[in-house]
Symmetry: C2
Subunit: 485 residues, 2 copies
């Protein structure tokens, strides 16, 4: 079971509806595939339909769009040569990490060559003094944290899936720990990028990793969240964090959504350095409790985690308890031992399956919006009303400290009417977030599905500016074409 699903970010509408495949418009030039083979060797190029289909989708609702060929480079020089080749032949290029995206980012909607970067999986340049490490695109976040075991450091960004770290950089991922440790953006110090024509760019200069810079436009932040549309991320230098000495987690139930959000705001205002603060609506709390055999009241619920020294942890717990009580929350039973905490988070991580169990035989689809936290209660309440009016099942989970939440829609994919209602609901949810001063995506990215919403979010000037940057860096529109813009 993948953590991604558990976080409610699993299989989507398209696959559920029986994935169909698009075909690329024109076949690859005859000598082109031979040229690819000359670069990486015959076993590292495939045009087999099964392989192409495997690389033509992520875990989202979008219909499979297989590339015309898949290549497995083993070194950055090969990525450069392959890119130069594609550039020369004007063949689209699609970077592929673990395929765990949620907005169709890897679907090769204009065909072309998929670069599967999973064989480049070296971890290098670990510096404990500088709190930094560099990872190739095949390195996943769990692999990195295993590697770091015993060093006292870790990489905290956790989107649920065991995604590749370069893929997480490409989509601007975040997750449960972002409220304390930030999203990918502030945790990437440098990126080695292969540009569409094969040139090599180091966003902060080759081999550099100062903790801060004021030298020119911030190319690192530009490539973080670019969703493969500007170049290949072939090495990411990441900022590491000290492991907390002690950790405690607990759940607490509230009379209303407003009370749960008020509690969150007050915890943040009190400068309690909360590491995770997750919201479950009463439907999700009920589903999770039942699925994991835990006693969880059917009520808006917060699941909190605190990190600190033993001493400061006790104080954080006390402050949190006081604020929870003030807002009518139920008393907190702290899980401090690893096993207890794991049990609690396993429950949260099974949210996806807990939701699916509400309607056996149905499929799930996860939305993603983010609003200013002051607007969260209204948006959640309106969304619940919308679900009811639409006759849909959609328990909610959210990274409430950031105002980011997901609805896990559980529906019968054979029922076309219901599938259409799901689609219409997700569009309305995106627009509701925009109307509340939020964004149509807090962490999943734009990919294929949110391009129309992106225009509404940024306005014409905003989109024109994105387009001019895209045109400047990828003038032939070869990098992951059809995404974001």
């Amino acid at each position: 079971m993948s953590l991604r699903r558990v976080l409610g970010l699993g299989l989507g509408l398209g696959r559920a509806l029986g994935r169909r495949s698009y075909c690329s418009k024109s076949p690859l030039p005859p000598d082109f595939v031979e040229a690819l083979r000359a670069v990486v060797g015959t076993p590292n190029v495939s045009t087999a339909m099964a392989v192409r289909e495997q690389h033509g989708h992520d875990e989202s609702m979008h219909v499979c769009a297989p590339p015309d060929a898949v290549v497995w480079p083993h070194a950055v020089g090969q990525v450069q040569e392959l890119a130069a080749l594609c550039y020369r032949y004007r063949v689209p290029m699609v970077p592929f990490g673990t395929g765990t995206g949620l907005e169709g980012g890897v679907n090769a909607v204009q065909g072309g060559v998929c670069f599967d970067l999973s064989h480049m999986d070296t971890i290098m340049e670990l510096s404990l003094e500088d709190f930094s490490v560099s990872v190739e695109p095949g390195v996943t976040r769990k692999a990195l944290n295993s590697y770091l075991r015993g060093t006292g450091l870790w990489f905290p960004v956790d989107p649920g899936a065991d995604a590749s770290l370069c893929g997480m950089a490409a989509t601007g991922a975040s997750g449960t720990n972002a409220v304390r440790y930030g999203t990918m953006r502030p945790n990437v110090l440098n990126l080695r990028v292969v540009l569409p024509d094969g040139r090599l760019l180091h966003t902060a200069g080759a081999g550099r990793q100062p903790r801060k810079r004021a030298a020119g436009y911030d190319l690192t932040s530009l490539f973080v969240g670019s969703e493969g549309t500007l170049g290949f991320l072939t090495l990411a230098t990441l900022r590491l964090h000290p492991l907390p000495e002690a950790t405690a987690a607990a759940t607490t139930a509230f009379p209303t959504v407003q009370a749960a959000v008020d509690c969150t705001v007050q915890v943040l205002q009190a400068a309690v350095p909360v590491a995770r603060i997750e919201f479950l609506d009463e439907v999700m709390a009920d589903a999770c409790g039942r699925f994991s055999n835990m006693e969880l009241p059917v009520a808006p619920t917060l699941l909190l985690e605190l990190h600190g020294s033993r001493h400061s942890l006790a104080e954080q717990q006390q402050q949190t308890e006081d604020i929870v009580r003030l807002n009518g929350g139920s008393s907190l039973a702290w899980a401090e031992e690893l096993e207890e905490r794991e049990r609690l988070w396993a429950m949260r991580h099974r949210a996806w399956y807990s939701a699916l169990a509400l309607r056996p035989g149905c499929q799930g689809y996860s939305t993603d919006v983010c609003v200013p936290i002051s607007r969260l209660p209204d948006v959640v309440v309106e969304t619940k009303r919308d679900l009811q009016d639409s006759g849909l099942t959609g328990p909610m989970v959210g990274h409430v400290g950031d105002g980011n939440f997901h609805c896990i829609l559980v529906f019968n994919t054979q029922d076309k009417d219901e599938a259409e209602r799901v689609h219409a609901f997700t569009e309305r949810l995106g627009r509701r977030a925009l109307a509340a001063g939020g964004t149509c995506t807090g962490e999943h990215g734009v990919g294929l599905g949110k391009r129309a919403l992106l225009l509404e979010e940024l306005g014409q000037e905003g989109l024109d500016t994105l387009r001019s940057i895209k045109a400047a860096l990828d003038p032939c529109n070869l990098m992951n074409p059809g995404k974001v813009l």
Copy 2:
């Protein structure tokens, strides 16, 4: 006395040498100035030489380059109209905030119109729940923090100068608190930008302020640190932080630079959430102690500040004391009351004048580099040797938690040979930082003086990428031309 100077970021080489003025190559078209007046009214346009000269320099070493005219818009619509006018006439535009920059960012090296934005000084949209506020470009960081008094929130980024917050965003400023609260970049949520042709862009969409977004390229981070070369920042939505309940500060002296840096690294590794950790070399410690009549050993010194609840502060103090002792630091006498702490920081803030007092009658010039912290001891020791070999006086201060430090060069500007040695030394210092995997500027920006170093830092591909972005967003090269690139 400005805080900027105190931080060692004061008057520089050019002014010291007797500022000369450049002239714009071609005079403004005759009907153009009339058109400017039609937009903002006659009193808000000036072509008087005194006014132009006043706007032709910041506090750096660079020779004054006055604009051909200065305008004072009072509303964003006027900025748009003025920009559209300049665009139509192909006249360069230079944004001007408080003029407290340190790399010649406002010097109108190609003439044109200086937009003095100080009359747009509204603070709006304060949300205590969302920890956010929006400020026009005339609002300084001190004005904002005065406005926030009593709310329990503050804006911690502190470069020393009472700079405008939009100007701080434009240069990607940071300062003493960055080790805990980050630089400007993660603290800007949205920017309202007037593009070179007068169009209005909201980098995160109009009226939006989610804490995180994954919707398209990160335009906010692109404009932070763009040094006025891509557009006018006319409103910044900022992220606020809760005020700490308790604060304590102390100094401690070490036997070597290495010991002071080791101590810093261990404090960070122990996850002590240190708010400020400032380094003074023995020359600076001596100068500061004497200038402020405080007993400070002539030794590499750290000046620390801790923020927390009363309870957690005591623990942070204990942890810090243990680590200091382990590294041979002198025992810490904590200043906890406001008055005591202010006395300590006043000493640090007088570093600029303390340095100048080493050679009465001489002038000062502050450098700025940032290196990975593991390389800091070597770089500091090499730099001290270089100072000695060059026969220069240059006490050092640094934001050591970020690996960022400044040399305050105190020299006789009438002595051409010494001025040349200062120039050669600063070039070598920049290259030394680059050789150590660092950056030529941690917080002052590139401006006029570090363009050659920027090429060395980013390489040709990096600079070409910056240039292509500049060309895409400012195709006629009208926004602050001659800077950064």
